[in-house]
């Protein structure tokens, strides 16, 4: 087994174990830290898929931004006494059955479908191609998403402001 293969399977196991820790752990702050590791594992998988720019953005935006925001949210909304309360509702059994059934269904679809695959060689970098596409073919969605970010910024500021 070549080294890259071993690293790939280690990364996959790391991602899945961290993600299940996020879901099954009872302490919210531990879940947030485990989410950090799961996102890190997904970034590693992106590198195996030759997506260097997406991996970098995943590290910057998800780990540096969203995860820190989530930890902020936990610390702002948790009383010390309520940390050890049960975090799951009564539908845990039903939820587990539905999630397991969903996973089996998706896995069956994946294994049964003859995916069309095209051979390609590894590019030297993806940044140039992504930049060209963003300012030519996807210019309108790019502008729309910047408007959406502006709206989200104003909305979040309005929502979290003290009512006067």
């Amino acid at each position: 087994m070549p080294l890259a293969e071993i690293v790939f399977w280690l990364l996959a196991a790391f991602t899945i174990i961290s993600a299940s820790f996020v879901v099954l752990n009872n302490q919210l702050l531990y879940s947030a830290i485990a989410l950090l590791f799961a996102l890190f594992g997904v970034a590693g998988l992106y590198i195996f898929l030759w997506a260097d720019f997406i991996a970098g953005i995943q590290l910057l935006v998800y780990i540096g931004g969203i995860n820190v925001l989530i930890i902020f949210g936990i610390m702002l909304t948790n009383k010390i006494s309520s940390v050890r309360l049960s975090q799951t509702n009564v539908q845990q059994g039903v939820g587990a059955v539905i999630a397991l059934w969903l996973m089996i269904l998706i896995s069956l679809v994946i294994s049964k479908t003859p995916w069309l695959q095209i051979e390609s060689s590894e590019p030297s970098g993806t940044v140039h191609a992504i930049g060209t596409l963003l300012l030519s073919k996807y210019l309108l969605p790019f502008e729309a998403i910047s408007l959406l970010l502006l709206g989200a910024l104003i909305g979040a500021a309005l929502l979290s402001r003290e009512a006067t």
């Binding site: 587990a96 999630a99 069309l116 051979e119 390609s120």
Partner: protein
């Protein structure tokens, strides 16, 4: 590592773990973490299909947009969660059901 199916299976497991968190967690922030897992599963699929479909860059653009949407969603959702906490002194999503009554 050179097999499309491996990535799809990993993404399927991440997706079902995320749906499990969304269905069973009581805490609003934990539900949000489940949504992040689901979005990551979708992103992984986009990038995997892009890599095995002849290195088509459109998949990368889509996953970039998904990341941007996730950031906007996290910011607004946390503002809402903090507002719910200020008004109800809990972020249990089962308790924030005044619209039903």
């Amino acid at each position: 590592m050179d097999q499309l199916n491996n990535y799809l299976y990993i993404s399927a497991i991440l997706f079902s773990l995320g749906t499990f968190a969304v269905m069973t967690r009581r805490n609003g922030i934990a539900v949000l973490m489940g949504v992040e897992l689901i979005l990551n599963a979708a992103n992984l699929n986009f990038v995997a299909f892009s890599r095995f479909g002849g290195m088509n860059m459109d998949g990368h653009i889509f996953s970039l947009f998904v990341i941007v949407l996730a950031a906007a969603e996290a910011a607004v959702a946390l503002a809402i969660v903090i507002n719910i906490y200020n008004n109800l002194h809990t972020i249990n999503v089962d308790d924030a059901a005044m619209m039903k009554e």
